[in-house]
């Protein structure tokens, strides 16, 4: 937990020597508490005080990042229990699992599919973050070979799964220089796993079926000098997982309880597991297998839940050209809420027909929301027509309104007397048909 100015003052030399540039140690402490200066400006703080200040400045949930070949997946650093209190920051890493008892070519093919997966959602390319490789054979060579196969098909970060330290060691040697997550340390093998994590600078998953068990392990492992830990509350069923994840986050945030101040992880064998992991606090999610029809909605859910509630995702207002419109092509009007813009733009693009898309500044709201809030009315639309010089770009003055705001057409006709105002369909899916038949 952050210290107050007074608490910091007690850790300073209290000699008021002014070398930090402030008249008193207290003044300096106040600036430190407000994070406006660096502690290094005072040459006289003791090592002990430094350590205490550093500890207090550490985030309540440690940031753990997995790295490989230019890729990075981060989890942790969260500050709230409910997203409306501020926002959730680090989108949980979504990993796809493969097992080492499969034929090498199968592994390669499956991983290549997962690696190549990309789905565009409101202009954002959604992808899988990494691959989890599980040793089910128990054979060190097989595990290393499977990891080699994965690496030939994907360069993304790895989660390596085996409770056997010899197997894990073979796996780690196959990807030296990376920062994978190794899974994991249980009450039986933690010393050997901690040793491996230290040697290879890997992050280490800690496995226990109770909070006490997790705390016991994280404390011991931290004592061995390994700090990048990920908690796996190993539980049967959704309710226990939810409760343990909630308790972990509460303890970390409300009590600054260091032994559980780490991101957590979950394994998802069904869609509900993934939905809970995303909405309720997991930092890494391992999917049992890759299927685009599940990966896509999971990644969309993650995108939605991790959107900053204070900032709806928006696009820049302006006049957009779709399929190289000419001066006699129609002008379609919409708002600058990303979901709205992309629903419409994708349909127009898919229709193959050229059109201008006039995106008004509706403060990032959907058509009906903006209309209800008075941010998408005839005045604003007319203003956008002027601001973006639409009349100069087209010779045929034809404007198409979203079907949901058909009521605006009368007013808009008076605002823009030399324009023909048309009402389009309500839903974007019907735009291509409308453009073909009615325009």
């Amino acid at each position: 937990m952050a210290l107050s100015g007074i608490q910091i003052y007690k850790l300073l030399p209290q000699t008021n020597c002014k070398e930090c540039g402030f008249p008193t140690c207290l003044a300096f402490a106040m600036k430190l508490a407000a994070k406006q200066v660096e502690l290094s400006a005072c040459p006289y703080v003791t090592e002990e005080s430094k350590a205490q200040l550093a500890e207090s400045a550490a985030p309540p949930i440690r940031l753990v990042s997995l790295k490989s070949n230019g890729y990075e997946v981060k989890a942790g650093n969260e500050v709230v229990l409910y997203r409306h209190e501020k926002t959730f920051y680090n989108r949980p890493g979504v990993f796809v699992k493969v097992q080492d008892d499969r034929a090498i070519d199968d592994i390669k093919a499956e991983v290549a599919r997962a690696d190549a997966f990309t789905a565009n959602y409101v202009g954002i390319d959604l992808t899988i973050d990494g691959i989890a490789v599980e040793s089910v054979s128990g054979d060190a060579t097989k595990f290393a070979d499977a990891i080699g196969a994965v690496r030939s098909a994907s360069q993304k970060p790895l989660i390596m799964i085996s409770l056997n330290s010899d197997v894990m060691s073979a796996g780690l040697r196959a990807v030296d220089g990376e920062t994978p997550l190794i899974y994991g340390a249980s009450v039986d093998n933690w010393e050997a796993m901690a040793e491996l994590a230290k040697q290879h600078k890997a992050a280490l998953a800690v496995i226990a079926d109770s909070l006490e068990g997790l705390v016991d392990l994280t404390e011991k492992i931290k004592g061995k000098g390994v700090e990048d830990l990920v908690l796996h509350p190993a539980s049967a069923g959704l309710s226990t997982a939810l409760i343990m994840n909630t308790q972990i986050r509460r303890l970390a945030l409300k009590k600054n309880f260091r032994p559980l101040g780490y991101p957590s992880m979950a394994f998802a064998s069904k869609s509900a597991d993934a939905a809970q992991a995303i909405t309720k606090y997991s930092g890494f999610v391992v999917l049992d297998q890759f299927a685009p029809e599940l990966a896509y909605p999971i990644l969309v859910l993650r995108q939605n839940i991790y959107t900053d509630p204070q900032k709806p995702i928006q696009v820049q207002p302006g006049l957009y050209e779709i399929n190289n419109p000419k001066t006699d092509d129609p002008v379609l009007v919409t708002t600058n809420f990303s979901i709205t813009y992309f629903s419409v733009a994708n349909e127009v693009e898919g229709s193959g027909l050229p059109a201008w898309l006039l995106v008004t500044d509706a403060e990032g709201m959907s058509v009906l929301t903006a209309w209800a809030a008075g941010k998408f009315d005839s005045e604003r639309i007319a203003k956008a027509v002027k601001t973006f010089n639409v009349a100069d770009k087209v010779t045929r003055h034809r404007l198409v309104l979203p079907g949901h705001v058909a009521v605006l057409s009368g007013e808009l006709e008076s605002e823009l007397p030399d324009w023909e105002i048309r009402v389009g369909p309500r839903e974007a899916v019907d735009i291509p048909k409308f453009m073909k038949q009615a325009l």
Partner: protein, 325 residues
């Protein structure tokens, strides 16, 4: 082991427990009733308080074939889709806890739905299934009122849920619910204060809070679910903090929302990365529903039997108590 002091949220308030449907002994004809609500803690925090009633699943059915539905749903229900009684029975057979009948704007011939038509659809559903029933009007104030008043009178004592009450149109529906022993569903557009206000207006008319469900509105996955998710968490927190006018069970319609999306509705000409159409659509509905259960939904209304199965498994797991107070 080092003892851990787990922070416990102690809440002064709780959600009201509300019974939907009435059995014969209670003046209705239902074979079963359901109770929703009663929470004294945030969802599934069994270590803080017992959760007396599990969330329930409703199935959306229609009084006539809904032509604008996804072809996948039309295929699923094809044998029953033109007969609300058969549809009700088939829906019951999927294992849902209640039925949600939407009355349409027009009948098969394109004529505006009449009160007689609405009553006959409701009666045939009540005759075919013993489950508790929610009845929603087509969503146009005047017609909603005409149809729902007729339905309420013809089913006096059944403890149906009638909807949708909105700030612009609630008086007639509330009055008829009050006169005929029914409940209402109060919908507001994703806003804590609007939800409270509408509940105040409705109780001001004399309908007790024990007969109101609230529908905070939700968006589908990818289309605004995050707003619904957060407003439900805020409403539930307000209820637990003791705000009387938010202490109502929440009903949401993930089926309706999810099946509106292009991802569920369209199978051709979509990106290959969207994967198998049917499974994608089911996942869309299931993920939307489960996310809303996590944020406090008491009733989720679905459209596809496979989603019902998956959501049921999720509810059973969420209700399993392994660790108590």
């Amino acid at each position: 082991y080092m003892p851990i002091e787990i922070p416990i949220d102690k809440w002064p308030g709780s959600v009201r427990a509300i019974t939907i449907g009435a059995m014969q002994s209670e003046g209705g004809t239902r074979e079963r009733t359901v109770v929703v609500g009663g929470e004294k803690a945030m969802p599934y925090m069994h270590f803080e308080s017992e959760m007396p009633h599990p969330p329930v699943i409703g199935m959306e059915i229609r009084d006539r074939r809904p032509d604008d539905w996804s072809p996948l749903l039309l295929e699923t229900w094809k044998d029953v889709i033109d007969d609300p009684a058969k549809w009700a029975k088939a829906a019951e057979d999927t294992g849902v806890d209640l039925l949600v009948l939407y009355l349409s704007l027009t009948d098969r011939e394109g004529n505006e739905t009449t009160p007689e038509g609405a009553v006959s659809a409701v009666k045939s559903v009540l005759g075919a299934s013993g489950l508790p029933l929610v009845v929603f009007g087509p969503g146009q104030a005047e017609l909603d009122n005409n149809l729902l008043v007729a339905v309420a009178e013809a089913t006096k004592g059944e403890r149906l849920v009638l909807g949708i009450c909105e700030d612009k149109n609630y008086r007639t529906i509330v009055a008829t619910a009050m006169a005929n022993g029914h409940l209402v569903s109060a919908r507001t557009p994703m806003d804590v204060n609007l939800a409270k206000q509408l509940n105040i207006l409705i109780t001001d008319m004399g309908l007790p809070l024990e007969r109101i469900l609230m529908d905070p509105t939700t968006g589908a996955l990818g289309y605004g679910i995050e707003y619904g998710f957060s407003v439900m968490e805020r409403l539930r927190l307000a209820a637990l903090q003791g705000d009387n006018m938010t202490q109502l069970p929440m009903i949401v319609t993930p089926g309706f929302e999810a099946w509106k999306t292009k991802e569920s509705k369209v199978g051709e000409g979509v990106p290959a990365s969207w994967g198998d159409w049917l499974r994608r659509a089911i996942n869309w509905e299931t993920l939307t529903a489960v996310a809303l259960l996590e944020s406090g939904a008491d009733i989720v209304v679905l459209r596809h039997p496979d989603s019902v199965k998956q959501v049921r498994v999720a509810i059973d797991e969420l209700m399993a108590v392994h660790q108590t107070v």
